[in-house]
């Protein structure tokens, strides 16, 4: 099942925060991580993560710093801030709740019991 561009665009913030919650990273590495976990998620182009990253930095959810990478080139690394971790935890809860609601209303989704377990697990920052 392909996700629509609109759905992906609206949730790219959360996806990138989740990637950065594993540790500091840079754009290219984040693309690799995202593609490994969810192939095809960046179908509008790998470069589209940069506007999202810059927006997250403006909102102080992530911080960036320039360092010299292993190639010898200057590379911009990003790390999640405390505010970002809180936002991610909130988003996880929102997603779990939404999944539960949609599953209940639409049917054919995982049983609420399973989701409750997921919610509790997902809520842990």
């Amino acid at each position: 099942m392909k996700l629509s561009k609109k759905t992906l665009d609206g949730n790219m913030d959360t996806l990138l925060l989740a990637v950065l919650s594993d540790g500091p990273s840079y754009g290219y590495q984040m693309v690799q991580d995202l593609n490994a976990k969810a192939p095809g998620v960046l179908k509008t182009g790998e470069g589209t993560i940069y506007p999202v990253l810059h927006r997250l930095e403006e909102r102080e959810l992530i911080q960036s710093s320039w360092r010299t990478g292993e190639t010898g080139r200057q590379r911009r690394y990003y790390r999640i801030t405390l505010k970002g971790k809180k936002a991610l935890a909130d988003n996880r809860l929102q997603w779990a709740a939404l999944t539960k609601v949609m599953g209940t209303v639409l049917g054919g989704m995982p049983a609420p019991e399973t989701l409750r377990t997921t919610t509790c697990h997902g809520a842990t920052p």
Binding site: G27, G45, E46, G47
Partner: protein
């Protein structure tokens, strides 16, 4: 001569329209990404030229990335393509406090199709006031007006003036029989009567059409000029920029 990768980055930055220092940082970041991608594709067996083209293809449209790199809601946003968003927004489609474009949405809007609190345009939809070829809204003065207080060539509203005029109360013409009015001057409720000055003001706008029209046209020309200048700026760097 610049290589294709630099020209791609030029293109992104032209659409991003960032201050120089910020633009250089964006360029360095994207270039690092692209070079790393090319290296990985070469390691995977592609020739360097093919790897470069593939890296650019996978990176996405420079126009999309460039526009997305602009601030979320800047003071002024002028675009030759897509939707402009800003306090003052000018573009083929515009969303802003002052929005001007083919399709304009905002507080004060001007355009072919304009929708807002105060709207002017070919088709104007104004919550408070609309003026245009076809107008709909609270107080409307238009070729064809549909609203609470409507004045125009053909007016339909609670309080209307027009030829024909149709509404709860049509102050002019009802006695001649060329208007359809629920109330006559004998039984019009005081509330509707008290709104007549507003209706007269709307009528005056149409009377001053001769003066308003040049202003309207001037704004239209200014809008086209700004769009032309933005298009020229985008094309100025390189003819190659025009495509895709």
């Amino acid at each position: 001569m610049k290589n294709i990768l630099d020209r791609y980055l030029d293109r992104v930055l032209i659409y991003a329209n960032k201050p120089e220092a910020e633009a250089e940082a964006v360029r360095a970041e994207l270039k690092d990404h692209l070079l790393q991608k090319v290296d990985d594709l070469v390691k995977g067996g592609l020739a360097r030229e093919d790897a470069t083209l593939e890296a650019l293809r996978q990176h996405g449209s420079p126009k999309v990335i460039g526009y997305k790199l602009r601030g979320p809601f800047p003071w002024i946003d002028i675009r030759s393509h897509g939707t402009a968003r800003g306090v003052i927004a000018i573009g083929p489609k515009a969303v802003g406090v002052f929005a001007m474009g083919g399709f304009a949405m905002g507080i004060f809007t001007f355009g072919g199709f304009s929708c807002g609190l105060v709207s002017t345009g070919g088709f104007a939809l104004g919550l408070l006031f609309a003026w245009g070829g076809f107008g709909m809204g609270g107080i409307v003065s238009a070729g064809m007006a549909l609203g609470l207080i409507a004045a125009g060539g053909m007016a339909l509203g609670v309080l209307a003036v027009g030829n024909p005029g149709m509404g709860l109360w049509v102050p002019y013409g009802w006695h001649r029989g060329d208007a359809i009015s629920h109330y006559t001057s004998a039984n019009v409720p005081p509330f509707l009567k008290s709104l007549e000055p507003v209706l007269n003001a709307a009528v005056s706008i149409n009377r001053y059409f001769v003066f308003i029209m040049p202003l309207f046209m001037l704004t239209l020309v200014a809008l086209q000029f700004l769009l032309y200048r933005e298009g020229k700026r985008v094309r100025a760097e390189d003819d190659w920029l025009i495509g895709g």
